[in-house]
Symmetry: none
Subunit: 229 residues, 2 copies
DNA sequence: TGCGGGCTTATGACATTTTCATGGCAGTTT
DNA sequence: AAACTGCCATGAAAATGTCATAAGCCCGCA
């Protein structure tokens, strides 16, 4: 499924519930907690696609949560939108320095937050925001769950789909089999690394096109990468 | 044409009349009252599609109206747009927390409110904002509650109708069984996900047409989508 | 330059597991 | 009574994870 996973850290329960409701209505998958420590646990258990973080929360402070998220390898690149009180100019600055991607000052309308979230996701991972991505002659429409090459639709299984989607989100970059397992199969999957080879083969077969070259590059003793065209 | 039902709660009679006039001109069906208690009665008698609520009204306060609307089952999901005075930052916060969907600060132009209303309705119930929807060779008339394919009317049950309507409001898009349950059966319904399959089958059967292909696409391990033609 | 060994990847086959379509059925609602 | 709903059992189809084996690549050495 293509619903982006949000982690909402907000200790005002009324606001939290409202936002949870709104976001789920918009097709996001939301987990919420008022507690900083718990947020860190949740984030490490199942890496969210984006974190919405209230600055003033119980337990660990917002800034500390932010910092720790950045420190953990699995969450280091997860975008963070922080919510601040109007006066706390100071926090805002520190927040951005600490690595928040955007901030919103209370009070804000849910629609405003929705827009920011969509914008950040679009910037960081276009496919999550429902935008089609193109890499070389491949075009992927995440909303329709379709992949086509030179106008012709390709037929692939679920795993191959997730795999090519991941590659298309990070073109040219080489991923080890371990990284691919984490990203595509999910962290902690106990699967033979060699199995990745098999799926790469299946993917290659699925996207093979009469004259077009194979866009998947094998990097010996390192992994695989997707090359444009 | 379908006319969305608005409930306007505003005690400035000049403004109220102006808005009523404008909205009716735009094809909405409007009921207005300056009084909070009466608003609640009206809302429960005939559930509106959207409520426009002034924060500073006589009788029960705006925030209380908002809260009670949310508490009543029949009005719990009706979107609310609230109108606030410029300075009342505080109210705004509480309003959003209480469950308003959007707010507008006085003074505002009627056109601005019209735009917000249209946007909210489009988000919540696309069919309300529109006339008939066409997707491929299917044509749905939400007012008449009818679906036809290639000119021939189709006969379907209530659930199948809601299902195809939802699909037609979002053509091509893949929905997971969970999303379909939320959208068609209502959030929180405790229904077996596999039951969706059954209704998909019934829907397919109902819209089957001699030579026309099946417009419902099964996306393995993801869900279903409606494809034009 | 040519060759062979050692290591890495590609491929085809296969047993298992998932996932889906379908028909039937009993309980409700209209 | 007729229509509708939700769920289960069943069978079929698709997808998945592993192996064994073939093929390819890199490197040192003659």
């Amino acid at each position: 499924m293509s619903s982006p996973k949000l982690l909402l850290v907000e200790d005002d329960s009324a606001l939290s519930e409202l936002l949870e409701y709104r976001f789920e209505n918009e097709g996001y998958s939301v987990r919420a907690t008022p507690d900083g420590d718990e947020a860190l646990v949740l984030a490490s258990e199942d890496t969210p696609d984006l974190v919405i973080l209230d600055w003033m929360i119980e337990g660990v402070s917002g800034i500390e949560v932010c910092r720790r998220l950045r420190r953990e390898k699995s969450t280091a690149h997860v975008p963070i939108i922080m919510l601040t009180a109007r006066e706390a100019e100071d926090d805002r600055v520190r927040g951005l320095e600490t690595g928040a991607d955007d901030y919103l000052t209370k009070p804000f309308s849910p629609r405003e937050l929705l827009a920011r979230v969509a914008a950040v996701l679009r910037r960081v991972r276009p496919a999550l925001a429902g935008e089609t991505i193109e890499v070389g002659d491949l075009r992927l429409d995440p909303v329709a769950h379709r992949l086509e090459r030179r106008g012709k639709e390709l037929q692939l299984g679920p795993t191959e789909y997730r795999l090519i989607k991941f590659f298309m989100e990070h073109p040219r970059r080489v991923f080890s089999r371990g990284q691919l397992l984490d990203a595509v199969w999910g962290t902690g999957s106990e699967i033979e690394e060699r199995t990745v080879d098999v799926h790469i083969r299946r993917l290659r077969k699925a996207i093979a096109h009469e004259k077009a070259p194979d866009p998947i590059r094998t990097v010996r003793s390192a992994g695989y990468a997707l090359e444009p065209v």
